[in-house]
Symmetry: C2
């Protein structure tokens, strides 16, 4: 694995020198993880002209459960309280870097000031989203982690569907799902599990309440596993009871059609906003345009919400090996709604088209 | 409750005008929650000369489970994607504020720039930790939420101790505790539950692994509930099996003595660093000075780690009605260790001294 991390750092170094910086300070945790492997909480990475260093906070023994950082990387541990980013800037100053690129979208104004004042001769530049851009296209090792995570989420969801649901609260169902994720080998949930019943169903990111599942409810569930740091996402909507109402069948069919249109639009070279439009126009033309969430899907990886954003105003085009969600939904205030959410990997047509990672059925199940 | 929020905003407004700002932009979520009540994820608060406004992201229906914001507060919901902080700065500009105090310790450099560019005639100032300072001393309503949260955590822990532990993994025990927190009425865990066995025991913030509990292990557990937004913390260390080893008894007694010394040092007017020193010197004089974590305790409230920090270099003194943790610990690499962690409220001697919220026994239990 250390080869992988080293080659990622080399690519970043090339970008930095192209933009005139001799050093870069990586503070955003997922970016540190991407370039250095699993590192202690709060660690930062100083990328130098040739040698890099991982700067870790005190105390030295706060290791993450999922592994250790790249062992070829020198490690500097603070010997007391302090900000590793400030210490790293100090090291950059001692090494006579003339320009240090920092993540202005992650560093706070106060921290940026502290970083600048410890190395006053070093000019601070903006690294922007350079690491996030490197992270968009995944290698097969990363995709394999996502695939395993998706299998785990499918298993957890499948088991829940076999149990009795009526009378149980959203909170309990969410905890039950999270326990099952861990049972099946996840590091943990990839994000807070969302379980929404009745009038709450169909709301994106709904936080579980004490409402109990009732006959006739829509039940929408969104969950995901973290596996070796990688996070996937699956969302499904079910009906509780034997016979869905007509409005439920119609709304489900509509969202299903929109979601399928989004999935089918995934291809290398497809514009982000065209994928969004494919799903959105189905819901729009049915009169739900006003109620729609700002995006139809997003990248996943070391974070659950990464680039690209599949939204009307995002510029850019999909590449092969980019994992994204496709997750349109409609929520009708007071009544509830439907969300259907898959994680897929963009693949060329010659390789069979988009690879569906979350394979739980999308038929409308009555439970 | 809206009176409470309004009077908090009035106190903040007085501080702002004293430092020359006619408006303030609150972005840090716990600070927004403190001044405006439970608000949608991503909402920001614009504090004006007279009228305040809560600016919420799109979509409008992403409400938190725990309640609604102060209903006397005007709400502005974005009608599309965008940063509520930028929108709020635009409103401040339209209202001809000349100076807008922002939270430089929370806003990123990139966001600060966007806020500044939307209202170029408004001078941006630094609000610093003004809201965090207001939050340090709690009212009795807040303390009551912490007290209930602590009762819930005590119950969850007590039930775990009655179950069979040997052979179960750290991850499963942590999930079990989190389920029990919710069973007993918590909104959720106050922070990721830490369960550490054998060589992992005694490590602060240890993330649970697949290691199973074995006979002869130290088992250290740290958990807390969130109740109406307020977070408490309890940590205990146990021995698995019938007869603790001598080194375990000695280490436990030592950490217990240090923790008691810390608790007994809590009083209105006591310097933060003197409380830290009371606990730290016990461990120091036993030769563990090098291995100690940078702090002995910290404030709790809407966040699990708030001001004050009980640490050797922190300036300041305790007030009455400040809830803090006292949580010294020692971890011996390869062997494990002990942590004991309580949440207490500082009270004057005349009121009986510090109020212990987490009442689970601190005797060394052999399970």
């Amino acid at each position: 694995m250390s080869d992988v991390y080293a080659s990622r750092r080399t690519r970043l170094r090339e970008r930095c020198s192209a933009s005139g910086s001799t050093a870069a300070l990586i503070t955003r945790p997922a970016n540190v993880r991407y370039l250095a492997g699993p590192a202690p909480h709060g660690a930062v990475l100083l990328l130098g002209r040739c040698e890099d260093v991982l700067v870790c906070p005190h105390p030295p023994d706060d290791r993450p459960a999922e592994g250790r950082p790249d062992e070829t990387l020198p490690v500097h541990v603070l010997n007391g309280p302090g900000d590793p980013a400030v210490a790293a800037a100090g090291i950059a100053g001692e090494r006579r870097a003339d320009s240090l690129a920092v993540e202005e979208h992650h560093l706070t104004v106060a921290r940026h000031r502290a970083v600048g004042s410890v190395a006053p001769r070093v000019r601070l530049a903006d690294l922007g989203g350079a690491v996030e851009q490197l992270r968009v296209v995944k290698d097969e090792e990363e995709i394999s982690c996502l695939r395993i995570g998706a299998e785990i989420a499918d298993q957890a969801l499948g088991e829940l569907l076999e149990s009795i649901l009526v009378g149980r609260t959203e909170r309990h169902l969410a905890l039950e799902l999270e326990r099952r994720l861990v049972d099946h080998g996840a590091d943990g949930p990839g994000f807070p599990t969302s379980v929404a019943t009745g009038p709450n169903s169909g709301r994106r990111g709904h936080r579980p309440t004490d409402r109990r599942v009732e006959e006739g409810d829509f039940l929408s569930v969104c969950l995901g596993a973290t596996y070796r740091g990688y996070r996937c996402e699956i969302g499904r909507t079910f009906v509780i009871g034997t016979s869905p109402a007509d409005w439920q069948i119609d709304l489900y069919d509509l969202v299903f059609t929109a979601q399928r249109a989004g999935r089918e639009a995934l291809a290398p070279g497809a514009a982000y906003r065209d994928v969004d439009r494919a799903a959105r126009q189905v819901l729009d033309s049915a009169g739900y345009g006003e109620r729609l969430q700002p995006l139809t899907g997003h990248g996943v990886g070391l974070e659950i919400d990464e680039d690209p954003q599949l939204a009307p105003t995002t510029m850019g085009k999909l590449d092969a090996c980019v994992p994204v969600t496709v997750e349109p939904g409609v929520h009708l205030p007071g009544r509830g709604g439907v969300r259907i959410d898959d994680t897929l990997v963009v693949r060329p047509e010659a390789d069979g088209g988009p690879e569906l990672l979350t394979i739980t059925t999308k038929e409308l199940l009555a439970l």
